[in-house]
């Protein structure tokens, strides 16, 4: 183990830091889940990022990246979050579909989709879940029928993140009408403005609409929009879910920045801070640090040729529980001002803690509930009996 950065890594950090200092908007952008205006402001930011070639630094140059390794990706993320740069509106694209395309896409598909992903020209939504297929994704009923050079998509998707304003979606469809469960499924990409697509915003707990329901009625897309072969959808989705739970869904830097804010909030209380709250701040900080160390360790292992396995499920559980604990601690420090929105004049220190807390409650649910993750850990990692 050698836990110090090389000079080249330090220089890279300086480069990112300097660019972010010059380019991160001074005032936070409006939320990309609350209005078209906020969404487009984030798209513009993605374009700006791309100008600096920061769209996705691990991708090859040809697709708009810099061909960097995972340690540099982590350094980039640290500086990105450290600069409080805008959240990535295209996270479904760059962190989920991107790696999937890299592994399962054709050369044409990579060339067609990745560069526009890096520039923010095409912002992606996910379209996997259905009303009766939440944790049980294999219960997908939406259909894709092959007709000549086209697939015709029909069905009802739900919990499609970003789909209210996004341009494109990647969805799971049953291409074999006689198949059951995880057989006969395919992953198909489709434009959200295609005829036959109706989007309906879901009002989430904080009033924003980060999710949509999608009603697909005979939506026609070229047959080349299939990712991988017909019937490979399940396998590809599981690989994508691996990325999701694994390295890229939640940057460790996110929690380290949140902890920095939490410590500042705690310190603003001076000696009035209750020692139990001080201890909870310390525990949250330990959690954020442990998560970061774990991701660095995984990144090192992957760079040495390893792969992500079932242990990725432990990440999902850990960060989602950390996120709730961290935000609860902040609310407990805020006391009777915890219920106020940041805009309330009586709560100059309220910040985004309330919103962050509400958002954190989704953590144990989405990208596979923590119950499912614990099943996976027990059965695949520990080898406990399925039935």
């Amino acid at each position: 183990m050698e836990l110090t950065y090389t000079d080249a890594q330090r220089a890279f950090r300086d480069e990112v830091r300097s660019w972010m200092r010059d380019n991160v908007p001074a005032t936070p952008l409006p939320s990309f889940d609350a209005s078209r205006e906020g969404f487009e402001a984030h798209r513009a930011w993605e374009a700006k990022l791309n100008e600096g070639r920061w769209g996705m630094v691990t991708w090859p140059d040809a697709y708009g990246g810099r061909g960097l390794d995972l340690i540099r990706w982590l350094i980039f993320e640290e500086e990105y979050y450290g600069a409080r740069a805008p959240l990535r509106v295209n996270q479904n694209g760059i962190f989920l579909l991107g790696p999937t395309l890299m592994e399962f896409g054709t050369e044409q598909q990579k060339a067609r989709y990745l560069p526009r992903m890096a520039t923010g020209e095409e912002i992606w939504a996910q379209a996997w879940s259905e009303p009766q297929a939440g944790s049980d994704l294999a219960a997908v009923r939406a259909k894709a029928r092959r007709e000549g050079d086209e697939y015709v998509l029909s069905g009802h998707k739900i919990w499609s993140s970003r789909a209210v304003y996004a341009d494109m979606a990647f969805g799971l469809f049953r291409t074999d009408p006689d198949s059951e469960r995880h057989h006969g499924l395919s992953l198909i990409l489709f434009p959200l403005d295609a005829p036959g697509v109706t989007r309906q915003a879901i009002h989430q707990i904080n009033g924003e609409h980060g999710f949509a329901e999608l009603f697909l009625d005979e939506v026609r897309v070229p047959a080349e929009n299939i990712l991988g072969a017909e019937g490979q959808g399940w396998k590809i989705c599981m690989a994508t879910a691996g990325f999701e739970r694994g390295l890229m869904l939640r940057s460790p830097a996110r929690y380290q920045v949140a902890v920095r804010a939490l410590v500042a909030l705690a310190q603003s209380r001076g000696d009035d801070l209750d020692p139990v709250l001080r201890a909870r701040v310390a525990e949250a900080a330990m959690g954020a640090e442990a998560y970061a160390l774990s991701i660095y360790s995984t990144a090192s292992r992957l760079m040495a040729g390893g792969r992500i396995g079932a242990e990725a499920s432990t990440n999902k559980i850990f960060w989602s529980e950390l996120d709730i604990a961290l935000h609860r601690t902040a609310l407990d420090i805020l006391g009777d001002r915890a219920e106020l929105h940041p805009g309330a004049s009586a709560a100059p220190d309220a910040g985004n803690w309330l919103d962050g807390y509400l958002f954190s409650l989704a953590g144990p649910i989405y990208a596979g509930t923590n119950e499912i993750q614990r099943n996976i850990i027990a059965e695949r990692m520990l080898g406990m009996p399925r039935k």
Binding site: I158, Q204, D274, G335, D336, G343, A344, A346, I365
Partner: protein
């Protein structure tokens, strides 16, 4: 020693529970929230009709002459129903204070449904519905003021609960001083104890209701070919939540039975205990409820979000978890403890 709800108490609770089931559904709350208001005039009139706002006011002053333990069940029910009108504060704090300070005319108006008085207190500083009140009762550390609505400066303080319209209040020159010094301190302290007790009760109601709707949802929603409520993990989450509720309830009940004398150090410790454990129960349960509801729990389509939002308010009102735990810890260090001290009172 009779640690049971009396028949009269149960009848009162049942009556209010039925009233709320008929008149305060979550569908009605959604409709109310969409109007941007937080009070429904018709529902308030009906509660006035039932005499509820004056429940703790003496019969000689036109109230029902009940004690805190007589209404703890109805406060719990109001919590479960997420009642948005300020019945609990009005009944528990505002009207008894108006009575105590001889504000007979305003007291009578409020009991008749002809006036509304909003409330501000160091432990619950933002006055709910101050914009539609006729006057604001302001407890300060050593003053109690009654301020005509027109004279106060109120600043909206938008919060998480769509059914709580909050305002910071600065009393104006027309504010009338109801008490000062020791008398004010005693009144402000008493208000905090009742506020904490009733906040605890509302949270207990929320906790049980959040369990109940989650059990119902888990029985209907199927995944992997069977109801999700048949999975042991969800069963155990909800069973643990129910355990928390079961061992908060008797603490709350005992606190309510002692609450006639809020100066008593044993009473205060027990109210702190109730606030602490009811708050824990509500928060854990509301989180569990969101988890059971999955994505629906994180949306506004299901009702769950109402419960977590109300809990976010009530947990920190009338003393935070930290304050109440520290009060309880201090009791351990200053008063006798042991099995024979369970029902002790001073004097």
């Amino acid at each position: 020693m009779q640690f049971v709800i009396t028949e009269e108490q149960q009848m009162m609770t049942d009556m209010v529970r039925e009233f709320l089931a008929a008149n305060c559904t979550t569908a009605e709350l959604r409709a109310l929230a969409e109007t941007g208001k937080s009070h429904d005039a018709a529902r308030w009139s009906a509660m006035v009709e039932l005499g509820l706002p004056g429940a703790l006011v003496g019969e000689e002053a036109g109230g029902l002459g009940l004690a805190p333990q007589d209404v703890i069940g109805l406060v719990t029910a109001a919590g479960a129903a997420l009642l948005p009108e300020p019945l609990i504060e009005t009944m528990g704090i505002t009207l008894p204070a108006l009575d105590q300070f001889g504000e007979a005319a305003l007291l009578a108006q409020v009991m008749a449904g002809e006036a509304q008085v909003a409330l501000s207190h160091p432990a619950a500083p933002f006055a709910e519905g101050a914009d539609s009140a006729d006057a604001i009762l302001i407890f300060e550390v050593d003053r109690v003021l009654l301020c005509p609505a027109g004279s106060a400066t109120i600043t909206p303080q938008p919060g998480v609960d769509p059914l709580r319209r909050l305002f910071a209040v600065t009393p104006g020159p027309d504010a009338q001083i109801l008490a000062e010094g020791e008398a004010a301190r005693a009144a402000t302290d008493h208000a905090q104890e009742i506020g904490a007790l009733f906040a605890a009760a509302q949270m207990l109601g929320i906790a049980q209701r959040a369990i109940d709707i989650s059990v119902a949802y888990a029985g209907e929603r199927t995944q992997f070919g069977k109801p999700i409520g048949s999975y042991q993990a969800l069963k155990h989450h909800l069973a643990s939540a129910q355990v928390a509720v079961e061992f908060a309830r008797p603490v709350l009940q005992a606190a309510s039975a002692m609450a006639a004398s809020t100066q008593d150090a044993y009473t205060r410790a027990r109210i702190s205990h109730a606030k602490y454990v009811c708050g824990r129960a509500a928060e854990t349960t509301a989180q569990t409820a969101i988890q059971v509801h999955g994505g629906m729990g994180y949306s506004q389509e299901a009702d769950v979000h109402f419960y977590i939002k109300r809990t976010l308010s009530l947990r920190n009102l009338w003393g935070t978890e930290t304050l109440h735990r520290n009060r309880y810890a201090a009791r351990l260090e200053t008063l006798a403890i042991g099995p024979d001290t369970l029902f002790n009172q001073e004097g």
